[in-house]
Symmetry: C2
């Protein structure tokens, strides 16, 4: 049954090859002071930085730069970003990059006008913002996190090795996001593939929960099929615009709250993967991939009906003459086969984890109860060991 | 290929059995003067009127009533509604009813502060609103039109027998909509079934256009499967909350602009059906149903690949050993079979049309070119004759 819920997502999206020009439609809505947030400087190599700066100048903006946002943005970097935004009296935070830059911009946006330490406030105590939020806009250069149209923000504390996400409400979602599939083509293949698995897993996290027959799960299956079909094209030809544009658009809808409406969700693969990421600093999507199969094989018996549905509806497994468990297993084989085809990490060893870390990683895994089985700490250790 | 597009839909939705209580969260955002818009008074019989009035009074609102909105709201009624809203100095138009009430409220909202005649301005000249728009909120009692989360408004001129829709932009979309599946259970079965076909056809209109392999069509197929599956439950047991809630939620996403992003669309079934409606005043969804099969059989040869995909992905037709046309035809048979199962009109004769009207109806059909074949007037007459 579709449970009770509310839904609002007011992010304005501009999608397509010409989408950057619409930045000029948005900028006049905000004050003069813009903080331009970006990562390691790849946007300087591929020309996006120059294009954005040109449009900002044409619109008479006073720009401060906050660069060096790392793939797993740290609490220390967040504190630095808050300082820059305060000193610049920011009217708009413009993130140009992937999900890390968007996530980071949102964390800065809720902290500029708050006195407390942002890590403690939002990622330890999970407070809601109670100070004025600085608007965020995104120019997206990587498809994956969905951060361009949601309130999520994941920050890593490199001292305590904690990687923690806070899903803020609609008031923290970007005011606008610019999605140009061509920008995603400048990424290395490793990052593209990690992003693709991140998308797919976002859908799985919302799908593998509950026994009901609702339209959210129908849409989830549609998105999964689209991601699988287009990913196989994109790994062969990363320049295929059709494939890259479908992947980019599916990514947005995979995690902008739509497909979780009215149903329970799981998110244990993210809890496991983020804990691995906290210790290894590995690419987010790869950490999810590396723990997924051991996790899903472990919980499948507790949600066999849904795993059977996944096999039939997403992977086209023919269920005739087979038990539910046999069909469900064929679905997981199909998932594994696809993961091998696109080339994601299938173990955490290659991401820098080893047996000695398992107890420490397991300690940092937050245990959620929306999935088909609430895991014990022993089961988490077991799954992490099987992920090595 | 996903074409270039923008997307924004800021309507806040409250969904579920308890959703009406959230009206109290929304009302304080608007001024004191509320015009309560409703239809023939069924909301007085089922208690919804009393509940809404109670919440309005609790929030200290000064309420004027604009009742008697008909299933096909007329230009004359629209002029009357504009007068009521002006006299009341309306701060909020609260529509309580089905798509007709929401459509009508939107047409009033863009006309209150404009001097020109609203029919001429918006439904003949298709002007965009250039005067201040009065905010609209909806309490939905029927699933079908999607009007609760889009900018569409269909108005009928009973003198000229023209039924014309204007799709306004995001600024005209309702600010909030309250969706309680239980409210839809008070409808007669005829209206429920007409709404279900309206939903399905909204999806078809966006799906049967273009040859590309994009995620919008994947989502469209998911919504169609959900509507079919849940409609078969709902016609057997209209009190089945799970079915009615899935139908209501699918209706919203069938026509809130998502599944048309980046692709061409058709809308000829609506052009045909609306012309029939202008002459017969028949229920909207039934007019669509009654012209659909003759139309789709006519255009199928020009879009056989998509009709084949429809057959396989929506209806589960096994394509093995069959030509594309054979598979496509099996999909149309499956559609017809489902239409019979749920009990929609399969001809326009039972809706009050006859052979003598065909030329007049055909003259009012607007010819669009987004589908697989741009029809001639002769073809339109032919399809209408086959619909008798």
């Amino acid at each position: 049954m579709l449970g009770n819920f509310s839904y609002k997502n007011a992010t304005k999206l501009y999608f397509g090859e010409d989408s950057l020009k619409y930045l000029s439609d948005e900028l006049p809505k905000y004050g003069k002071n813009v903080v331009l947030i970006y990562g390691g400087g790849s946007i300087k190599k591929n020309g996006i930085y120059d294009e954005v700066i040109k449009i900002l100048k044409q619109n008479g903006k006073n720009v401060a730069e906050d660069s060096g946002v790392m793939p797993n943005p740290t609490a220390d970097k967040l504190r630095e970003g808050v300082k820059i935004a305060r000193e610049h009296n920011a009217d708009l935070l413009l993130a140009v990059g992937g999900g890390s830059c968007c996530d980071y911009a949102k964390a800065v946006s809720v902290s500029v006008n708050c006195d407390e330490d942002p890590w403690d406030k939002y990622f330890i105590r999970f407070d809601e913002p109670d100070c004025q939020i600085v608007p965020v806009g995104c120019v997206l250069t990587m498809a994956g996190t969905g951060s361009e149209m949601n309130g999520g923000s994941v920050i890593t504390n490199s001292e305590t090795k904690q990687k923690i996400g806070h899903v803020f409400g609609e008031e923290v979602m970007p005011k606008f996001s610019i999605l140009n599939p061509k920008f995603t083509m400048s990424l290395p293949k490793y990052q593209m593939v990690a992003g693709i698995y991140d998308i797919f897993n976002h859908i799985c996290e919302q799908y593998f929960s509950g026994e009901d027959d609702n339209v959210s799960d129908d849409i989830a299956e549609a998105l999964m099929k689209s991601v699988v079909r287009n990913s196989l094209v994109a790994v062969k030809d990363p320049e295929d615009y059709e494939a890259r544009s479908n992947i980019m658009w599916a990514a947005t809808w995979a995690l902008n709250t739509l497909i979780s409406r009215g149903k329970t969700t799981d998110w244990m693969v993210h809890m496991l993967g983020q804990a691995v990421g906290g210790f290894t600093n590995a690419t987010h999507g790869m950490t999810l991939a590396a723990v997924s199969l051991p996790y899903y094989c472990h919980i499948m018996p507790y949600g066999v009906k849904k795993f059977r549905q996944f096999a039939v509806n997403v992977w086209g497994v023919d269920p005739a003459g087979k038990t539910d468990t046999e069909v469900a297993n064929e679905g997981l084989y199909a998932l594994e086969n696809w993961m091998k085809q696109i080339g994601v990490s299938l173990n955490i060893t290659e991401l820098g984890a080893d047996k000695d870390m398992i107890k420490d990683i397991a300690r940092e895994v937050e245990i959620l109860s929306g999935g088909y089985k609430t895991l014990s700490k022993a089961e988490i250790e077991q799954i992490l060991l099987e992920s090595l």
